[in-house]
Each structure stands twice: as C-alpha cells, then as structure tokens.
C-alpha cells in the first residue's frame, strides 16, 4: 500500500466533559462540549492552523490528535494507523512520531535538570543509549540556535525565547513527523516572537515536518499556515487555504475575527465588522448555528438549523446558511 498523502485524518472528533455537581461531585448536571464533531486532514509537510478564541476547543483538538485526551467520539488516523485502537505499547511507538510544543515550554522542565539532560530525556525514555543521546543533543543545540556549552546550564539561566528553543529541541529529539505547536510564541516578547516563528518554519522546510499550528494570532497564522481552520465553540466553522481565508472569508465569525485584529499602521481605514457580545459557553451551546447569538446577519433558520460545512469549491468550506448552495 502506498503512503497516503494525508498524514493526519480526523473524523467527527468530539470531546465532551461532564459537569459534576453535588457535595461529592457525583451528580452529572451538564456537559461541556469542548470539541463537538470536527473533521479535517493535514497533508504531509503541510501546516494547518487552528484559530479561534479561548475556549473554542483548539488545544483540545491538538491533544485529541495525539491521543493525550481520549475522544468521546470520532477517529484519528495518523499515517493510516487508527490511533484510537492502539494499545499502550503500540501507542508509545506512534507517539514518538508526534510531538508537542507548548506555549510555556519551561513549565514542563524539571528545573534541576541541565538543558542537555532535558533534551535527552525523551530519547532516554525511548531507550536510546547515553552515547546516542549525547550525540543527538550535540546535533540539536545548533539546530535550534543554541550553543554547545548551553547543554550544561539550567533552564532558569535562559530567557523565554531560549527556553522555547529548548522545548523545540526536545520535541525534535526523536525525529517526529508531526508536531502540534500550541500557541508556541504567545508568551514571548514581541521582538523574540519572529525569531521563534522563523526557527519553526526553517525546521519544517529542512525536515519536511507536518504542523498543526494552534494560535489566536491571525498575523502569525497568515505567515506560517498553508491552510487555516477557524473554530468556534467546539466546531470548525470555516476552513480554506490561507489566501482564500484571508481574502474571501465567508463565515461571519471569520470576518469578525479578521476585522478585530488591530491595524498595522495608524490611519488605516479597515471595514470593522460589528462584533457583538462574547463567546457563548460550551456548557450551553446555542441551538441552531452556534454563532447566531452574536451574528449580525442572523436569519430565522439560523436559530433552529445547525449548518453543516458547505463546500464552496477548492477545499473552501464554511458552516453558514448564507453560503448554503442552492439545491
């Protein structure tokens, strides 16, 4: 069998969390629908960006792909392997090929371990010899822009940007195919963000990595992504290649997000979409279209009928009744 063009394929993925109440937290009084039926594919070597506001389910989606969170429903295929069917041992083998870069890398570091030991840790756990680990650490340090002598230092001696580089080296240690970058530059100073973005895009080119890039920053997403999926309350509401999404956004929420990005320079007159209210709660998802409570174009149908992702051609899909094709 030939390798599929898609490295990742998610179908109808969902994660619902029970809301527990009562003195002993034993009574289930509701459900948080963190991720509520998302399907997408990521091609080899591609960057798919997931954008959306806090609580939209983008981080949970990233963790579902790696099975760090067990799905309530749906399936994930990684390189044609159905990962929800794997047992613990098989899963460990697959996980070596998928890695995660966090927003705050250093929160995952043991402060008493040297940088060299931190980068070697995943290789050590995977059963590589000490010599192999050392050799790979020596390769990785310059790759992420750190010096060889940094291996003997401790994380607290580094700035935020450098710590993020250590986190990236750790993620790359086992030569993964797929990396979930979860807000990788959001905690960094503005002057350092561009450096880390350049590092991530450079490594992708060099090693043919596939990225899921989770971010709320639409400027950075436009720079790094090939395709963009916009999430709202646990659903993908629009997905398209980058040029289409930024130039011809079809979903009112995508338009609102784009119009809310502060201007690049003063005096720029940009069409401001009237954004009303705030994100509804994932505990009480509105009926019909989830966005109807904030949408300026709301129609009666939106309050009752949950729109599917309508195909607009060229891989552009949008879940809005306004773009529903005529039957």
């Amino acid at each position: 069998m030939t390798a599929p063009a898609n490295l990742i394929r998610a179908d109808f993925l969902a994660k619902h969390y029970p809301v527990l109440s009562g003195a002993f937290r034993k009574r289930v009084t509701g459900t948080v629908r963190a991720v509520d039926g998302v399907s997408f594919t990521i091609a080899r070597g591609e960057t798919l960006a997931l954008v959306g506001e806090s609580g939209c389910g983008k981080s949970t989606t990233g963790r579902l792909l790696m099975r760090l969170v067990e799905p309530t429903a749906g399936t994930v295929r990684f390189d044609n392997i159905e990962i929800s069917e794997l047992d613990a041992r098989q899963l460990r083998a697959v996980r070596r090929r998928m890695q995660l870069v966090f927003q705050d890398a250093s929160s995952a570091f043991n402060p008493r371990m040297t940088v060299g030991a931190l980068i070697a840790e995943p290789m050590d756990l995977a059963g590589l010899s000490a010599d192999q680990c050392r050799a790979r650490v020596d390769e990785l340090l310059p790759l992420v822009g750190l010096a060889a002598e940094h291996a003997g230092r401790y994380p607290h001696e580094f700035s935020g940007g450098q710590r993020q580089r250590i986190g990236i080296a750790r993620a790359l240690a086992l030569r993964p195919d797929f990396v979930v970058c979860d807000e990788p530059v959001s905690a960094l100073d503005v002057s350092v963000q561009a450096q880390v973005v350049n590092l991530l895009t450079g490594l992708q080119r060099e090693f043919g990595l596939t990225y899921l890039f989770i971010s709320h920053d639409l400027r950075i997403v436009r720079h790094v992504a090939d395709r963009v999926a916009v999430m709202y309350l646990g659903r993908i509401v629009e997905i398209a290649d980058k040029a289409t999404l930024y130039r011809k956004p079809q979903h009112p929420y995508t338009r609102a997000l784009l119009s809310a990005v502060p201007a690049h320079r003063p005096g720029t007159v940009r069409a401001r979409t009237e954004v009303v209210g705030e994100v509804a709660s994932a505990r009480a998802v509105p009926p019909g279209c989830r966005y109807h409570t904030r949408c300026p174009y709301v129609m009666p149908v939106c309050r009752v009928d949950d729109p599917e992702l309508f195909d607009l051609g060229g891989g552009h899909r949008s879940a809005c009744h306004l773009v529903r094709p005529l039957q």
């Binding site: 100073d189 002057s191 720079h223 784009l258 502060p262 003063p266 954004v275 994100v279």
Partner: protein, 327 residues
C-alpha cells in the same frame, strides 16, 4: 500644542532592591500627557513601562524606590504629598485599569457594591445616590442589563465584562487621567476590539487623557496620539503616532515594526526578526542598551549613552545614527 500638560514626568528613576542586588527599572524617564490626548507607552517585559505607571500612582512595591525625578499632576507636585493626600488624587485625579480584572475585583463582594464603594468613600455619596450612580456607570460602559449585574459576583462575568466593570470603577470619581496598563492583553481579539472601542468613545465623551501601556503596536496604531517606546528602562523614541510608523527613528522601533507579520500585504518568507534577547536589568549593556541587538551598531554605541536627536515636530530618538548625521 503649547497647552499645559496634565501630567508631567521629569527624569524619573526607579531602583529595585533584590537579593541579586539592586538595579534601575526606570532610568531618567521624562514625558508629558496633554489634556484629552492618549499617550501610548510601548515596550516589552522589563522595559519599565508598568513601573513608570506605578511610580506615577505612588503604588510601587516596598522593594522599589524613586531615586530621582519629579511628577507633576496639573500644577501639583506629587512627590511631597502624604499618602493621605495621594489617596485623594487616586480615583478623582488619576485612575488606573489593569490587565487582570479578576486580580483587582473582590470575589466575595457584588459588582454593585464594588462600583458603589469609591462613590461613597471618595465622593461622599449616600448609599441610595451611589447605587443610582453605579448603575449609570455600568450602562456607560455598555454592560447589558446593569440592574441585574449590580447583584452579580465577579466570577459570574466573562473576562470582557469584568474589564468593563473595572473601567466603570476607574471612571466612578471622574478622573482626568486614566492609566490603562495592558487593558486588553488578557482578552480575546473580538473582545479586545470592543474594549478599545469603548475606551476611545469614553475618552472623547468625558474629555479624559489616557496613558495607554501596551506591548502591542497594533493597539498603539489604533488608539494613541503620541507614543513613547521604552527599552531596558529608558525611553528610546517619542513621536506622534503617524511619524513613528512612517519614519521610525530608533533601530528598536524599526525592528519591532518590521517583525510584525502583515495582514494584507505581501508576506516575506522569513520574518525580519530582531536578533538576540531582551537585555537583563542585572547586566545592562554599556552605552546604548540596544547595541548588542542593533544591526547598525558601531564602536561608539558600546560606550556612549545616546542623547535624544530631534527628527521632527515632537519626534526624537535616542540613537547615535541621528547624532552623527546632524552634528
């Protein structure tokens, strides 16, 4: 242009004593805020922008000392005021809004009570009058159904609503100057756009001055009239907002502007990043603190603290390149 400034800060220097020794967080900072105008202060973590604001409000932590400089609010020198006298400036003269409203709101008091409190303590209103005024203030900041929100507790509100409450409290005693320290940083983009819109509208209606502290040049572009750029505790450039974006005079400002990925224009393959890391306050580089990261630096930059060179009406930059050109 020659209008007397509302707030005038001259040569402000603030030192912190820590276990690792003492350092200057703010060095020789001078600026004016004019009546009815917005001064944006841009800088990264550790640039001294928040410490400057806290020094103006006389809210510095115990480990910090103002070692030099004067702060005038109108004709009044704030330096010799007693804590009691300063208390009457806070709220009625200068009010402040912070990044994290949850840290400023009392979790066990109702919103109504917290808005009423300064009205009763500072303005001496009776309970009934304070309640009526509090409700007015909540509708001024466009909180839907203010009468109900009066009885709500902070945890029942979203981040955007809490920030609106903080703005209502800040405005309660009719301040002439509002200091907003990263007021939208913790908020989602669509909420950020709404809060900025609200602040701009209130500023015009109430004829307030605003000192807006942010790391986001986009926020500055949309909101500020004049801008200060701070780096490592010093002002490196001050400028009317248009000139700053058109003709940045300091290499740091230039680097910040260039490293911001565009939302509409052609996107470069590699972002023009500022190299290196933000200077540590314990090991400030000699001469110009930016010189290790500056693409234009030469020998003199490592020795000489650059003076301000005039670049235009109200536009100066502390960079030797301009000194060399004009001298």
């Amino acid at each position: 242009m020659d209008e007397a400034p509302l707030l005038s800060v001259r040569d402000l220097t603030v030192a912190f004593d820590t276990r690792r020794g003492s350092f200057e967080a703010v060095s020789g900072v001078s600026f004016d805020v004019r009546p009815g105008r917005t001064l944006g202060v841009v800088g990264e973590s550790g640039s001294g922008k928040s410490v400057t604001a806290m020094a103006v409000m006389r809210l510095l932590p115990d480990s910090a000392r103002v070692t030099a400089g004067q702060v005038h609010f109108g004709a009044r020198d704030l330096g010799p005021l007693t804590d009691r006298q300063m208390q009457s400036i806070r709220g009625r003269g200068i009010a402040m809004v912070f990044q994290d409203p949850m840290a400023s709101l009392n979790p066990i008091l109702t919103i109504g009570w917290q808005v009423m409190e300064p009205l009763m303590l500072q303005l001496g209103l009776g309970r009934r009058a304070a309640r009526a005024r509090a409700q007015e203030l909540l509708s001024l900041v466009r909180i839907p159904s203010p009468a109900e929100i009066m009885h709500a507790y902070p945890h029942e509100l979203s981040g955007g609503m809490r920030q609106r409450v903080m703005i209502a409290i800040a405005l309660s005693c009719g301040p002439k100057l509002l200091i907003a320290d990263e007021p939208t940083t913790a908020l989602d983009v669509t909420t950020q756009a709404q809060i900025l819109e609200l602040l701009r509208d209130l500023q015009q209606r109430l004829d307030m001055s605003v000192l807006l502290i942010t790391h986001d040049l986009g926020v500055v572009a949309e909101f500020a009239d004049e801008v200060l750029v701070m780096y490592a505790g010093r002002i490196v450039e001050r400028s009317p907002v248009m000139a700053l974006f058109d003709r940045p005079g300091h290499p740091y400002t230039e680097g910040l502007l260039r490293s911001m990925p565009p939302l509409e224009d052609e996107d470069p393959e590699t972002l023009p990043a500022i190299e290196g890391n933000v200077a540590s306050p314990f090991a400030l580089p000699t001469g110009c603190a930016f010189h290790p990261r500056c693409p234009y630096a030469w020998d003199d930059c490592t020795r000489v603290l650059p003076p301000f060179s005039p670049l235009g009406e109200g536009h100066d930059a502390a960079c030797l390149r301009h000194g060399a050109l004009t001298a």
